[in-house]
Amino acid sequence: MPEDFESMLRTGALAVAEATKPVAVDLVRARGDRRQRRKMVASVVVAIAVIAGGAATAVGGPPAEHRHPSPAISREGFSLRLSAPASYAFRVPNPVSFTIDDSAGARTVIVEINLGKTHYAVYRKAVVERFDQATGRWRNLRVTHTRSGWIASYPLRVGTGLTRQRLLVVLAVPFSAPNPFVLPPLAVVIRSGGEIVAEQRTSAAEAVELLGAWQGTTYSQIDRGQTREFAFTVHNPASVRYPVQLYFVAAFCRKAHGCSQAALGDQFQWLDGRIWQPAAASAYLINGASDGNGELLKTVLLPAHGSFMIRFRIIVSLTSPSFVGQLIVSATPDSSGLPGSAALYLAPALTTATFPIGIN
């Protein structure tokens, strides 16, 4: 933890306290009095229903709307058309492209990509690469943090007609950023002779992370001799597709003696297509193992706004001892399957979901 954690925590909380506008005390007293009266007539149920209704609303929420770029500014025979995701993926190269239409003759222009200024503690630098058609490779662009945002720029030779540019953008957001994370508009500016000849920017977008969840989240008790199935779903809320690795861990502990022994005698399997595959020994985590990533089950290409479900089952033998434990699946982007310079993207997004179970 940072050395100044406590100081930052207290300073931030003080700011929250100062900014808080509490409910007027007479309203609080009135609420207390109402509670008292309701208690007397035993109508508390109504209040609970109101609270539960509010929470249920908070879980849902409207789907993200598609956002359109602003009208392009075009001068001197230039026009510009920008295409960018409405929902970026965290810590994954996101494809952005733009097309310049030049009717005024060949020339060299300066392209500026402005990722905007995130109102956030930025620990990780933004990355922008552009596809070099001459070499067929992605070339890294220098990104600088300026007062107006994270900016990458490069000279570009444009000819008469259409010139298309493909970019990869990794956003400057830290691991602990909120999910979803609201992003400022992305802008592409074309300069010629120091003058802006074309400009277009997107609306505010968002960066979103993988979401993983087991179906059902309550404790599941399994008797000896039983077989039980579980399902885990990973969802990609971004409008960008990328490959995701799924890891599985079954962490078991003897009830009476703490987590000291894995239940190797109990058979975990996962459904690969139509075939149940046994989980490898690495999927059984003995507490104390310091680096238990578990077993890499599968790499799947998650489409934009797509989901993938994977099924598991446990076959508990009649002679199994009693255990409590958790099934854990982690999903993380597969850096080896990402476009561009994979070495630049070694800060994987990660979602982990646990499912407590017991063998009785």
Binding site: V16, P178, N179, D291, Q326, S330, T332, L350
Partner: protein
């Protein structure tokens, strides 16, 4: 029984902002914190003749607000899933980026660890005081503090987490 309105109003005015900021750190959501705190003060007023005689009425309000927050959400969703789905709320305008990062990191660790961390590092309670407020043994509080700090470390650093790091934290309380 006649309740002393003046002493309650004074208590409310002197403590409500502080308790709200503490609940915000614990819950990660300012609106939830304000609702839970308002409800807790209303409950305090209901039984003010008794609560006002406690050694630490502010601690009582904080505890009741936390329970209100937890119980109201448990009725609808799994706490962890709600955190993971929604991350930090959008009501953080005006807060420093560092504090937003801390709140976001706190939301990603286990609830009992987060509560212990906030009570110790923000409220300034000792292990024994936290044990009394949370109803957990002192040894458990120490373990929650240690695990909470371990879980926070990678979240507040620049380095990427490894799946194993998080899994180790997840099974820490198994």
């Amino acid at each position: 029984v006649v309740r002393d309105q003046g002493s309650f109003d004074e208590f409310y005015a002197s403590s409500v902002r502080r308790v709200t900021s503490q609940l915000h750190a614990i819950t990660g959501n300012r609106a939830d914190a304000e609702d839970a705190v308002a409800d807790a003060y209303a409950r305090a007023w209901q039984r003010w003749t008794r609560v006002s005689g406690y050694d630490d009425p502010e601690g009582w309000v904080r505890t009741v607000a936390y329970r209100t927050f937890v119980s109201s959400w448990r009725k609808a969703v799994s706490r962890n899933m709600a955190h993971r789905r929604h991350g930090a709320s959008a009501d953080e305008a005006g807060l420093s980026p560092d504090y937003v990062a801390i709140i976001a990191a706190l939301r990603q660790i286990q609830a009992d660890q987060r509560r212990a961390i906030v009570l110790h590092h923000l409220v300034g309670l000792s292990v024994e005081q936290i044990a009394r407020e949370t109803g957990a043994p002192a040894g458990t509080v120490k373990a929650r503090l240690a695990r909470g700090r371990r879980a926070l470390a990678p979240l507040l650093s620049d380095g990427p987490p490894r799946p194993g790091q998080l899994i180790q934290e997840v099974i820490g309380d198994a």
